[in-house]
């Protein structure tokens, strides 16, 4: 039971990063289907940073510097990929769905390509270091194991989600961002720099999402690497999660846990057949569809996607 919860929290972290990143982007009115590709690129960047630092550290790495190095590289790579999306959809006003899909194809390919050049000799050690639990977790029994036994990125994810809720709902910046996503023309008339808000939201959202992929590789599977397709799948699940939690980052924490649990339960349950496992693995998607339908039936104003989601904004359009 404890191992199940610990694993569920780990998978939840991957999804939470992606989900919060996508929420920020969607709040600016951009349905970013490139998130899977961006998460892949975040992985590639983080792994590159890790490999560079492990080279510099020469067998004696410090925890703090390793985390900082990989975090910065991961965010930069993911945000750079997000910048391509932002350039195409904000400045050049291209179709968001098409651009997003192209980003995903490109991101997954580029990640596989880059990873074949990354030196992974020290990844085992780096993975252990990054996923090392909080220092006092051991003394607290099962409580410590479940809640405190994770690598630092789990807590970063939760902090980011809570901070994101706060910024969106309690600050002027958040109000402006929501205005941009709901009605860019109104926001523009109110003197808000729509283009700047969109760019910043997409870059920040992409940077956050990228950490999800990196966390999965470096913390959850401790630095082993096969290919980008698993991270891509997590990316799509993260986009589903955005709908499931009704564009609310703090609900994302619980939603991610539920999705993570559904994902992991198939691997943990011992006495189920492989057929039953496949059925359980479908559950998160079925749940998402049900939520999608239910929210659309009740048509509650609070729980709808941003009104201008997916539409380009051109000031001279009427």
């Amino acid at each position: 039971m404890i191992t199940f919860l610990v694993s569920a929290i780990s998978i939840a972290t991957v999804l939470l990063f992606g989900c919060v990143g996508e929420i920020i982007t969607e709040k600016a009115g951009h349905l970013n289907l490139g998130i899977p590709g961006i998460m892949c690129m975040g992985t590639a960047g983080g792994c590159l940073g890790t490999s560079l630092y492990m080279g510099i550290a020469n067998g004696n790495p410090s925890w703090l510097l390793l985390v900082l190095f990989s975090l910065v590289f991961s965010v930069i790579f993911a945000a750079a990929t997000g910048a391509i999306y932002a350039l195409l959809t904000v400045s050049l006003r291209c179709n968001q769905n098409i651009t997003g899909l192209a980003i995903t194809i490109f991101g997954a390919g580029a990640t596989d390509f880059l990873m074949s050049f990354v030196d992974r000799t020290h990844f085992d050690a780096a993975g252990k270091l990054i996923s090392s639990p909080l220092p006092f977790a051991k003394n607290l029994g099962w409580f410590g194991e479940i809640f405190l036994g994770h690598g630092v990125f789990v807590y970063i994810a939760i902090a980011v989600a809570l901070a994101c809720t706060f910024v969106l709902n309690k600050t002027r910046v958040g109000l402006h961002l929501r205005a941009v996503g709901e009605s860019p023309a109104t926001a523009d008339a109110a003197g808000i720099n729509v283009t700047a808000y969109k760019y910043v939201a997409i870059l920040v959202g992409s940077g956050i999402a990228g950490l999800g992929g990196f966390y999965y590789i470096m913390d959850y599977i401790k630095g082993s690497w096969e290919n980008a397709s698993i991270i891509e799948a997590f990316g799509w699940l993260a986009i589903a999660l955005v709908i499931f939690v009704l564009w609310k980052p703090h609900l994302g924490i619980l939603g991610a846990l539920l999705f993570g649990g559904c994902y992991i339960v198939a691997f943990v349950l011992a006495n189920v057949t492989s057929t039953q496992k496949e059925i359980i693995k479908m559950l998160p998607y079925v749940i998402t569809i049900v939520v999608l339908i239910v929210t659309s039936i009740f048509d509650d104003k609070e729980n709808q996607p941003p009104a201008s989601l997916g539409l380009p904004y051109f000031r001279e359009d009427r």
Binding site: G109, T111, F113, A228, A240, E278, S296, D299, P305, E316
Partner: protein, 377 residues
């Protein structure tokens, strides 16, 4: 402040450049812009590929073309790939014209492929082959149509977001495939080997020809359907303005549901051919991501089924050519193909901007505030 001064203040504030929406661009210019984008992106790709190996850009192009057209077998395969992609593209186009974002092509192909393979698995060898093929056709088209109509029903009734609905159905479809494989394959290897029954017949001794003819014919039919029939007209009205459609008495809900049945059923035909004519088995990768690739193809072709023959051909060409480049340049994984395809997409997507908008720079001697494109303030 008198009028003169006001005018001058406005002139000073005029930005360095601004955007104006174009009316329409002559076809020749549109083609030229796309050609520049495609050639430019391929040149960029050739430089990138050469940078990571000891080959030069010229060898990139020779491998690219060699991989696609190098032998008669390669040309047949290229045509077959084009035909399948075209099949998915014509399936998606009525939905997209209606502004219904069917991102579920992959799922619709997978379930129909699964349905066809189920017929082959359970009935193959027990009843005559032609009966198996008929049953495969019926079940797979039905499966695709059901997978397509589900999100349409909810879109019509409750305005449920269809792009996310269809996206989720992709994963459920792939889960169903994994589930049935786990039932059928007792060893637990997760791989279903090609089944011996229910193969489509060869046409004039070629196993590729039937697929190619069917989908190119369907593309022509789709062109006629969209352009010259009442239903095609209804689709474009619903897509352009649902309110207009309502006012002139079109039943919008009916159109959405009907169109998605067609869309799903056509994806079903693709799944049928993947199962019956090409793979004779099913895996979670059977859709080969065509549901997404075809979105690019339809969009690049401006939703015209005839132009889609060209765009699908081009995408299949890059795909096949890059496989050759990959082996010739000694890249260990096939990801380089995705990078190049991604780059081509970026360039082509970006150039759509220059077709829709015109960039106007500030005139050096800023006398008049009135410009040709925009309305005077």
């Amino acid at each position: 402040m008198d009028n003169q001064q006001k005018k001058q203040a406005q002139v000073k504030k005029e930005p360095f450049f601004r955007l104006v929406k174009r009316d329409t661009l002559p076809v020749g210019k549109v083609i030229l812009i796309y050609a520049i984008a495609i050639v430019g992106s391929l040149l960029l790709s050739s430089i990138i590929c050469s940078a990571f190996s000891d080959k030069n850009p010229l060898q990139f192009f020779s491998s690219l073309f060699g991989g696609a057209f190098g032998s008669s077998r390669r040309i047949w395969l290229l045509l077959q790939d084009t035909a399948l992609l075209l099949g998915v593209a014509i399936a998606l186009v009525p939905a997209f014209k209606m502004k219904f974002w069917n991102l579920g092509g992959n799922g619709q192909i997978l379930v129909s492929c699964l349905a066809a393979v189920a017929c082959m698995y359970y009935l193959g060898g027990k009843i005559p082959d032609f009966l198996v093929i008929i049953l495969m056709t019926v079940t797979s088209i039905l499966a695709g149509a059901i997978w397509g109509v589900l999100p349409a029903i909810f879109k019509a009734l409750f305005n449920t977001n269809e792009s996310l609905f269809t996206l989720m159905l992709n994963y459920i479809a792939s889960g169903l495939v994994a589930m049935f494989i786990s039932i059928w394959v007792k060893s637990g290897s997760g791989v279903l080997y090609p089944l011996p029954n229910g193969h489509f017949p060869n046409l004039f001794g070629s196993k590729y020809l039937l697929t190619i003819i069917v989908f190119f014919a369907l593309a022509v039919l789709m062109f006629v359907y969209l352009k010259y029939t009442k239903q095609g007209y209804e689709i474009s009205v619903v897509g352009d303005s649902p309110n207009t459609a309502k006012y002139i008495g079109i039943d919008v809900k009916k159109v959405i549901i009907r169109t998605m049945i067609i869309s799903g059923a056509l994806c079903g035909v693709v799944g049928l051919f993947v199962a019956g004519s090409i793979e004779h088995t099913v895996s979670t990768a059977s859709a080969n991501n065509m549901g997404f690739t075809a979105i690019m193809a339809t969009w690049l072709a401006a939703f015209n089924p005839l132009i889609m023959m060209g765009t699908c051909g081009f995408i299949a060409f890059v795909d096949k050519g890059m496989m050759e480049v990959r082996s010739a340049f000694g890249f260990t994984n096939d990801s380089i193909a995705n990078i190049v395809i991604g780059l081509v997409y970026f360039c082509v997507i970006a150039c759509s901007f220059f077709i829709t908008y015109e960039v106007k720079f500030r005139k050096p001697e800023a006398r008049s505030t009135k410009t040709e494109g925009g309305k005077p303030l």
